[in-house]
């Protein structure tokens, strides 16, 4: 399920079944020419990833709105992420996963109230290339297996 009117209509009466929340954590920094291209690419890949997972498991996984933050500030973001999770926990979510390519979160994993799914970033490349596509598909498959291990 997604943060879309139609999905919410389906979610509300069946919420007990949709017990898993997935929040994408997406860093960006428009101040740096150097970072922009790379971060935009990673944002796109992140969306493709989470869409694949949502599509296969939409009856059990809720894909939250994306969590954006200025890159490099992971430590100051911990409490804001946790407050998102707190609000979501007012619904019957049992499992909360945070999906990111940003390794900075790794250091703060223990302070987060959701499970961190950190995947090493693919360096920029052609998003349409079959190589990128099959890589993303395979990794998405592994991530969903990991999520299923918690069910």
């Amino acid at each position: 399920m997604r943060w879309k009117e139609n999905d919410i209509k389906q979610y509300l009466p069946e919420k007990e079944y949709i017990d898993t929340l997935l929040i994408p954590l997406i860093p960006f920094d428009p101040a740096s020419d150097q970072m922009m291209g790379k971060q935009a690419f990673q944002k796109e890949i992140n969306q493709i990833f989470t869409s694949l997972i949502e599509k296969e498991y939409r009856g059990r996984i809720f894909l939250a709105p994306e969590y954006y933050y200025i890159s490099g500030a992971a430590e100051t973001e911990v409490s804001r992420v946790n407050s998102w999770i707190n609000q979501f926990k007012k619904q019957p979510f049992m499992h909360v996963f945070l999906f990111t390519f940003d390794a900075k979160w790794k250091k703060h994993e223990d302070e987060l109230t959701g499970k961190l799914l950190w995947v090493p970033a693919i360096q920029s490349g052609n998003i349409q290339s079959t190589e990128t596509q099959s890589f993303v598909k395979e990794q998405a498959g592994q991530i969903s297996e990991l999520i299923q291990a918690y069910w």
């Binding site: 079944y17 949709i18 599509k55």
Partner: protein
């Protein structure tokens, strides 16, 4: 001159008010209009058939076939990947089932659960379907997996739209 101006001001006011009124009316009408045109706004697949596999590759074992369609969904046009489970039944007829679980929409797999090697299994809440796609009683789904319309031409299998079926 000033008269003209006043008129034009009144006109302007008039327009604005009609505008607002019209807008409000549209607001009230919207739900009804939406009802009326809903089928148009909904996902449209144009009823086209897509060639998905060569017929001699199809065996008794359900296999996953994938293809993409251009989907017009209200505002967006996008490429959407479609999937079907395809096999031949005992009567040697080709069957193409939608993999979308009729419970809450997860994707089902053939024989993915060791305990049920001859069923479709939904990883989300353990929904199950027999090989013909009929939901197993006592599991969450309440209807069978939809069946794709299909045709065979020059050795190729073509699939159209998935048709839902009544609950078992």
């Amino acid at each position: 001159m000033s008269d003209k101006k006043r008129v034009s001001r009144r006109q302007f006011l008039n327009y604005t008010l009609t505008g607002v009124g019209g807008f409000m009316a549209a607001g009230m009408l919207a739900p009804m209009v939406r009802f009326a045109i809903d089928p148009v706004l909904q996902t449209k697949e144009g009823g086209e058939m897509h060639s998905v596999a060569s017929v001699d590759e199809i065996t008794n074992e359900p296999t996953r076939v994938e293809w993409t369609i251009d989907q017009v969904d209200g505002w967006y046009e996008s490429e959407v990947q479609k999937t079907a489970w395809v096999y031949r039944n005992e009567k040697d007829e080709i069957v193409a089932l939608s993999p979308i679980c009729t419970h809450l929409g997860c994707t089902v797999d053939w024989a993915s659960n060791e305990e049920y090697p001859n069923q479709f299994y939904c990883p989300c809440h353990g929904g199950r379907y027999t090989k013909d796609g009929v939901n197993v009683k006592g599991t969450p789904p309440t209807a069978p997996l939809p069946v794709y319309e299909h045709k065979v031409e020059e050795g190729m299998l073509y699939l159209g739209e998935a048709q839902s079926r009544k609950g078992a």
